[in-house]
Amino acid sequence: MPTYEVALMLRAMPKPELKTTLKRISHAIFDRGGIIRNIENLGFRPMPYKTTAHGIVHREANYFVFKIDAATKAVWDLKEEYSRDVDVIRRRVFKSQDTCDNNCTLEEELLPPAYREDVQNMIEVGKTQVNRFTYKFKYNSGLDYYPFQK
């Protein structure tokens, strides 16, 4: 089962209600055979832009991130269930990425253009193409009329 991150925005509500909502959300995951690795609370804060959900305009939200292990097919089901939940303003599921390679290629990118590999490749590709600016139509093409507009 791949690890996913479910970013949820819950509407502004008192603590006990929030508790039941979170319980409902996590039970939805457990019902589909998923595991919750951890729950992050990013706090209650005003949203950078207002959002309409279930007919109400929301300007503040409780931000939560669930890190879950679930089957790929269950994720679609979860998203559908949360979309029907009136307490959830917005939900986004991302694949969790933990690894990050640190082989920096900045030195090669700062070289003069002629020494850069991508520029050299571009020149090689350019050699195989017809140059639009210097191309001249040859009249010995076998046609007895000029095929283009003059």
Partner: protein, 136 residues
Amino acid sequence: MSLLKTLLTRYVLPNTYRATAVRFTSSDAKLSACDDTPVEMENPYKKERRQCILCKLNIKPDYKNYRLLSQFQSPYTGRIYGRHITGLCKNKQALVENEIRKAQNCAYMPYYYKDKVFLKDPKLFDPENPIRSHRF
């Protein structure tokens, strides 16, 4: 008088220095007279390999860390700064842009401005002095 002075400094003084230098090293030279061949060594003047700030500090851009990501955003228009301004490598710039787009979509970060709480954050780069010139 001045001519004499310049002549003295040019021809006489260097010779005396050389003489003293020879006197000091003559004892060592006797010990290892045969191996005064050039020593094989790495280029001591070789410059250090440059790295972008995220690779140097080993930071992985993450959409939840929107404070870091907002530093790569214009405070006036919310536009993501390009690689020629941020000075990141291709790999990290693509990651940062991707994570910013995620954060904006999750409503962690605004699209059209920078959060006013983060306006006084330290500047990682100067948008007025890009590495390569741009048309704006």
